[in-house]
Symmetry: C2
Subunit: 456 residues, 2 copies
Amino acid sequence: MRLVVIGGDAAGMSAASQARKRLGEDDLAITVFERGHFTSYSACGIPYWIGGAVPDRDKLVARTPEEHRKAGIDVRLRHEVVGIDLDRREVVAHDLTGGGETREPFDHLVYGAGAVPVTPEWARVRDAGVFGVQTLDDGQAIHDWLDREPRPRRAVVIGGGYIGVEMAEAMVLRGLDVTLLEKSPQPMAKTVDPDMGALVQKSMRALGVEVLTDAHVDGLETADGRVRAVVTPGGTLPADVVVLGMGVRPNTALAREAGLPVGPTGGVRTDLRMRVEGVEGVWAAGDCVETQHLLTGRPAHVPLGTHANKQGRVAGINIGGGYATFPGVIGTAVTKVCDLEVARTGLTSKEAHAAGFSFVTASVDSTSRAGYYPGAEMMTIKLIAERRTGVLLGAQIVGRAEAAKRIDALAVAAWNRMTVEEMTALDLSYAPPFAPVWDPVLIAARKATEAVHASL
Amino acid sequence: MRLVVIGGDAAGMSAASQARKRLGEDDLAITVFERGHFTSYSACGIPYWIGGAVPDRDKLVARTPEEHRKAGIDVRLRHEVVGIDLDRREVVAHDLTGGGETREPFDHLVYGAGAVPVTPEWARVRDAGVFGVQTLDDGQAIHDWLDREPRPRRAVVIGGGYIGVEMAEAMVLRGLDVTLLEKSPQPMAKTVDPDMGALVQKSMRALGVEVLTDAHVDGLETADGRVRAVVTPGGTLPADVVVLGMGVRPNTALAREAGLPVGPTGGVRTDLRMRVEGVEGVWAAGDCVETQHLLTGRPAHVPLGTHANKQGRVAGINIGGGYATFPGVIGTAVTKVCDLEVARTGLTSKEAHAAGFSFVTASVDSTSRAGYYPGAEMMTIKLIAERRTGVLLGAQIVGRAEAAKRIDALAVAAWNRMTVEEMTALDLSYAPPFAPVWDPVLIAARKATEAVHASL
C-alpha cells in the first residue's frame, strides 16, 4: 500500500508516524510532500523564537525530515502538490527548487495542507516586510527581516487575536515600538468576552504596546520595496514591519479542485475517523478541516496545533488498521500576554448567543493560592451557564501565574456536560500553595449556581 | 429556631454562616461552642506558619470570632461541649476558663467536632514537646515550643503522610535537624504508589531531612518534663521536639455517647444533605464524618479542609431552608515537598486492589511547558484504569512547578467516569508557555489506553 501525505507539519506527520508505527515499510510506503523547509514544527512557538525566549529556530522542530526518513517516511521538502487526481489516484507535485513535476500514486491520501493567513488585497506585497505567521518559513522570513540593516524600529500588528498579541509582545521584546490595530473595541474579541478582553488590553498597554481599537486599515504605503506605513482612516502609522494577525482560513484550494467536500466553515469535511466524507481512502486533518463543536453541535473551524496533532494521529491509526476517533472540540484555548494569562473553554457570551442559548454569567475574583500563602496572585474567572439547566457552556480565566491552566478542569466539566451546581461538589485539589480552600473554579461554580437559580 | 454548633472551624462555621445568610436573627439564633481560641482557621496552613512562609498566625484565620459575632453568630470560645442530650434537645458545655457549665437548647444541631491525631499510648505526654498538628492551638503550642530557650535543635517527625512531610520541611526551614520516621518503605505510602513515593523520598533527602523508612517507634525518653529522644528498635534518636503525623481519626466520642450513628470508618454517618442518619434536626460535617467514595461506592473518611468547608456549607444551606447535597469524594489531594509537587485523585494501586478492581497502570514523563519554552519542568504522571472498561480509577502526579494542579482535570474526568480512551480526545488547553502540544495528561491517557487494549 502507498500512503501519500500533503503537508509535513503536525497533522500530516502525525498521521504518517502513526501509520508507520502500525505498518512496516513492506506493507506501507509513505511519501510526504511539504512545500516548506521544515517538518513537524511548532508554529505556536514562532512568537517566542522571534521574541527571544526560544533562542534557536531548530528547537521548534519536534522531528526533522532526516529523523522522519530514518523512520521510513519519504519526506520531500520544497515540493508543492498542485493537483489531486482522484480517478487515477495520484497527486501531482512541483519541485519548488526547479526540479520539475512528480506524479505519485496512492492508496491512502492524507490532506494536511493547513491554513493560510487572511490577507486582504492591500497586504499582498512580497518581500516588503509584511508577514503572516503561519509556517516556520514565515517565522524565518520575519526573523531575517528584523535582522536586516537598517533595523526595523516600528512594528504594526494588524489583528488582536492570539497571533496578534503574541507577536506584539515578541516585537516589544525585540525592542521595537509596537502598535496593535484591532477592529473590535478590545483585543481578543473572538476569544473572550469584552470585560475579560479589557483586562488584556490593560496588560498590553502596560507592556508598552500602543493598542488602537475599533481600528480599520485602508492599506499600506511602501517605498523602495519596503513597507513604510499602515494607512488608517485615523491617520498614517509609520511601520518598518507589518504582521498580519487577522485570522486564518483553511487551505482548501487543492481540495476543492479535486472535488473533496468542504463545509460551511470552509474546512474539508471528515467523519469522526478523519476520513474525508464520501471519498474512500482519502483522509484530512489539521487546520484545513472542519470539525464539530460539541457544545453547539455545529461545524467549527478551530485551527490549533493540539487539534492538528490529535486529528493526524487519529487518521494515522485508522490508516494503519487501528480504530480511533476525533469527536470534536469545545473551544479550549490559552495564551499569555506578558505575565497575564488568558484562557477559555466552551463558548463566549457572543458565541453562546449566536448558537441560540439563553444563559447566565457569573464572574469572581479569587487567588491562585491561599490568600496568606506567599505568591498568591489574583485571577478572574467567568462562567457561562445555560439558563434553567445550569449546564456549563463556557469559561474564561484572566490572571497571573497559575491561573490559566485551571481552564482544563473547566474544559473537562464542559466536555461532560456538567451543570454548575454539580460542579460545586467537585473534588478539586486543595493545599495552601495551590489554591484557597475554595478553589476559584468552585467559587465561580457557586456564584454561577446562584445566577442559574435566580434565572428560574 | 435555635441552632447550636459544636466546633468553630471550617465545617461548623461554614454551616453557621450559610444558615445565617438564609435566616435572620429573628428566625434563627446561632450559638457556636469552640474548645480552642480560634474560629474559621486554616489548619492546613500551620506548617507554613511554623516554617516561616506565613509570617503571622492571624493570617491563617479566615474569620475571627468578632467577625462572626458581628454577623449575628454567638461564638463561645474555650467552651467544650461535654454532652448532647437528644431527648431534651440540648447540649451541655463546660467553660474551660473556669466559668462552669452551660446548657443550651437547640432545634438544629451541627456536629463539627473535627478529628484527633492518632496518638499511641507512649505519646500521651503533656507539655513535653510532643505535638499533634490538628488545631491552631496545636500550631501555637509548637510555635511557642520552638521559641523556648534552649532552642530545640533536633526534631523527629513520626509518620510520612501530608502532615509529616509538610512539618518536616517546616522544621528544616526553622533550622532544625530533622528525622522523619515512616513505617512504610517510602513516605506518602497512603497517598501515592511506591514508585511515586520514592520520588518524594528523594526530594526530602535532598532537602536535608533524614528519612528512615520501615521504621517503628517503641516509645519516648523524657527528662525534666521535656522529650529527649525517640526510641526505635534500631536505636535511640535524640529529639527536642516530636511531631506526630500518624494520621487522624474522627472525633466522635460525644457523638457515640449521644447515640449518633457511626460508620465503619469511624465517622458519623450522614445522608447527602449532611443530616445525621435517622436523627431529626441533627447535622454533621467535616473531619468527624464519614462520606462516600464515588469510585468505590464505599464509605470513606477523608479529613480535608476542602471537604469540611463544602459539607458545612451544604448543612447550613439545608438548615436555612435551601437544598444542597454533598455527593461524596474521589480522593483528590495535593501537597508540596520543597519544590516537589505531589498530587493524586481517585484510587492508588493499593486502594484499587482493595476495592476489588482489576486494573492497568501507565506512567509517563513529560514537561510542564513546551520542551523548548523557558522554565519547562519535568513531571511524572501515573494513571490507573480499570481493565477492559478503561474507566479512569486514579491518577498521581509528581513534578516541579505547574505540575500538581493538573490533577484537577484528571479529578473531573474521574468524577465523570471517563475512560482513558475518551480522555485522549479531551480538549485541554495548549500553548507553549503552558504545555507541550500533547499535554502530559493526554500523553498519559494515550499510554493508559494502550495498556487497556493490551489487557483485553
